[in-house]
């Protein structure tokens, strides 16, 4: 009986396992939060890196996770607009309500690109009025993301503030060194013309100086039509575009059609931690992206 009682207490008190209970919307945020928090925090991501985070599925189990959270870390910039607001409303956890200490929207500390310089209307497709939310794919943004997370951890758990800022300093140092190496490894791609599937590779292409000349989607979020693919065929030939870069979750039929007709190289870019089994940290993510590109002749 006593054993059951103790087991129940452990089960229902996440605070006994770790100081703060962190829920992130994506696996990338979770990876950084784990690096910064170490064994002082427990981190769970609501989504997996194998799926498109725009279209995550709200599930009742997520309500349960949010209910227990001390801190919710989100990508923001409307990335989670289709599924997170309803979850927060159902979670009945005032800590994670917007503007409270337990709500951290990382997009607020990032200089977002791709802000439409005009009023956003739906005939533009799935355009985010706040700017492009795929900022984690620029590794230098990783430093800003980690800083925001470390600062918030320190605010919620002052006793371990020094641990978090030390972990951040180490993360920053390592990342800066790696960025230099990644950039030199991808030197031959600098200025290279590419096609992307979606507007999601904007930050990656900026970081490594890739020249995005077009998208397989005719407009963000819409499936490609035959006539759009025909236009791309002409574009590939006239502009001598040599690479298609796309995330693993998109259909490959369109890209393979272009590949058959033009010999363009198709490079699958793992876009998130967990999108491939070997990618377990934020560093692994860029190692894999760099390797995927380097593997192409």
């Amino acid at each position: 009986m006593r054993a059951i009682f103790v087991a129940l207490i452990i089960l229902f008190s996440p605070s006994l396992w770790a100081n703060i209970n962190i829920i992130t919307t994506t696996s990338d945020l979770a990876a950084i939060a784990k690096t910064i928090g170490g064994d002082k925090v427990s981190v769970t991501s609501l989504t997996k890196g194998t799926r498109d985070p725009h279209y995550a599925q709200a599930k009742p189990s997520m309500i349960r996770k949010l209910f227990r959270a001390d801190l919710l870390v989100l990508v923001g910039a409307e990335m989670e607009v289709g599924w997170l607001p309803a979850l927060i409303r159902s979670s009945r956890n005032k800590r994670v309500l917007p503007n409270n200490e337990g709500y951290l929207d990382i997009s607020k500390v990032i200089d977002l690109k791709g802000k439409p310089g005009q009023r956003v209307t739906r005939d533009m497709g799935d355009v985010h009025g706040a700017g492009n939310p795929h900022y984690w794919l620029d590794p230098s943004n990783g430093i800003l993301m980690a800083k925001a997370i470390a600062d918030r951890f320190g605010m919620l758990d002052p006793a371990n503030k020094a641990v978090y800022s030390d972990n951040f300093a180490e993360f920053k140092l390592q990342l800066e060194q790696k960025i230099v190496r990644w950039k030199s490894e991808l030197q031959r791609f600098s200025g290279e013309k590419i096609l992307a599937y979606h507007t999601s590779l904007l930050y990656l292409s900026t970081a490594f100086n890739l020249d995005v000349r077009g998208y397989i989607e005719p407009q963000p979020g819409l499936s490609p039509s035959a006539s759009h693919l025909n236009r791309l065929l002409k574009k590939i030939e006239s502009e001598n575009i040599r690479y298609i870069l796309m995330e693993p979750y998109y259909e490959t039929r369109s890209a393979k059609l272009l590949q058959r007709k033009t010999n363009i190289n198709l490079v699958i870019i793992p876009q998130s931690v967990g999108s491939q089994p070997q990618i377990k940290s934020y560093f692994d993510l860029f190692d894999s992206i760099v390797n995927a590109l380097k593997a192409v002749q």
Partner: protein, 399 residues
């Protein structure tokens, strides 16, 4: 353009005018409370029908208040949704529906209008206002989120043409179990057009007497409902929800004889969804949704006896490529009163449909119904083409 809460919520009179501000609000995110006082959306659902029988038969078969119910065109549902955080303590949602009846007259409905708490401790939440009763999975879904163009037969029969909804209060509790488990308890008015198994339905003949008889004399004159809803992730790709519901309340059948007759409805629902581990725009997926309902409905013909009605529906949706969903629904309903009325006859219906979502904000659906009841001599074939648009704030993806 920032829309002022007071302006926007002022009146239904502004309903049609708000269409023009919706695009400006297209990327409203309710999380950003400081910028946007509320989310505004308009959803319109139309359909065109063809059938092997005339409009009288089709109208009788399509029991849902928002079902397409005639050959030719139907405006099923034009819905204005206003929602958001009221303040740090409450969230609110208002859904106003307009539809056109067969005479082309506009009918206005307050579908839902409720506030709910956001800060109660211990996993509790209170909701108050006009809202759908928490019963099964489909009852609280708004017509534009249905997987088929029409409402399952058993729901039209037992919960009413517009679904069971009324004014009242609801307490829910997120129980401290390791899996998601939530308990809902509600008390709502038994009277009103949307409580057909209760005081608005049945065989009350004398309109004049009704009003005085319907006065609330005590706690027995309300509808009480309970629901236990559970969800778990079986693995990364498969999640399952199971729920059990019950409603108890007075019905109108004993009004003439001054007897207090009661209705009880019980239900169980199961929903299982698989989504590919590498999915794009949420596809491919496969979902299976099944509900069973039973009603004990006290009636009086000399002596009091209990009519027993029951039915089920089971539907599969297969999202086979981004934007494309194929669906099959099987359903049946029956009653121990037999084929005396269409409402009690044994009835089977099969529906097949194909839906295309050009984007998240529009939908085109083709559906075929094969409707076989003991009440009509021949099975009826129906064909529907449905189209929908959504303007305004991003519709939440529901689970």
């Amino acid at each position: 353009m920032i829309l002022n809460l007071r302006q926007a919520s002022s009146a239904v009179a502004g309903f049609l005018m708000t269409g023009s501000v919706c695009l400006a609000q297209s990327s409203v995110n309710n999380l950003e409370m400081n910028n946007n006082p509320m989310d505004i959306g308009v959803s319109a659902l139309f359909s065109a029908g063809a059938a092997s029988e005339g409009n009288e038969t089709i109208g009788a078969l399509q029991g849902g208040g928002h079902d397409p119910s005639k050959v030719g065109f139907t405006l099923q549902n034009l819905e204005l949704t206003l929602s958001g955080a009221v303040d740090p303590f409450f969230n609110a949602q208002t859904n106003i529906i307009m539809l056109l009846n067969d005479e082309g007259e506009a009918i206005l409905e307050i579908e839902e209008a409720f506030m709910s708490t956001s800060q109660l401790p211990a996993g509790l939440q209170i909701k108050a206002g006009q809202f759908y009763t928490e019963f099964g999975r489909q009852n609280k879904m708004h017509p534009h989120t249905w997987a088929f163009v029409d409402q399952p037969i058993v729901l039209s029969r037992l919960l009413g043409a517009d679904g069971l909804r009324s004014q009242g209060g609801r307490l829910s509790w997120l129980t401290p179990t390791p899996w998601y488990s939530e308990l809902f308890l509600a008390v709502q008015n038994a009277k009103g057009a949307t409580g057909s198994s209760f005081l608005s339905g049945g065989h009350a003949h004398d309109e004049g007497a009704e009003e005085s008889e319907f006065a609330i004399n005590g706690p027995e004159d309300f509808i009480y409902s309970a629901r236990w809803f559970n969800g778990t992730d079986i693995n990364d790709s498969v999640s399952a929800n199971i729920g059990f519901s019950g409603i108890w309340g007075p019905n109108a059948n004993g009004m003439d004889s001054d007897k207090d007759l009661r209705t009880s409805i019980y239900g169980a629902d199961l929903y299982i969804k698989w989504q590919a581990s590498h999915s794009s725009r949420g596809y491919p997926f496969l979902s299976w949704h099944t509900e069973y309902l039973h009603r004990d409905y006290e009636e009086i013909e000399g002596a009091i006896f209990t009519r027993k009605d029951n039915g089920w529906f089971s539907q599969v949706s297969y999202g086979f490529k981004p934007g494309w969903i194929g669906g099959v629904r099987l359903e049946s309903a029956s009653s121990n009163e037999g084929a005396v009325e269409l409402d009690t006859t044994e009835r089977f219906r099969t529906a097949l449909n194909l839906t295309w979502f050009p984007s998240e904000f529009s939908k085109i659906r083709l559906q075929y119904n094969y409707d076989d009841s003991k009440y009509f001599d021949e099975p009826v074939h129906l064909m529907w083409l449905q189209f929908e648009y959504n303007l305004g704030s991003h519709a939440a993806h529901t689970f």
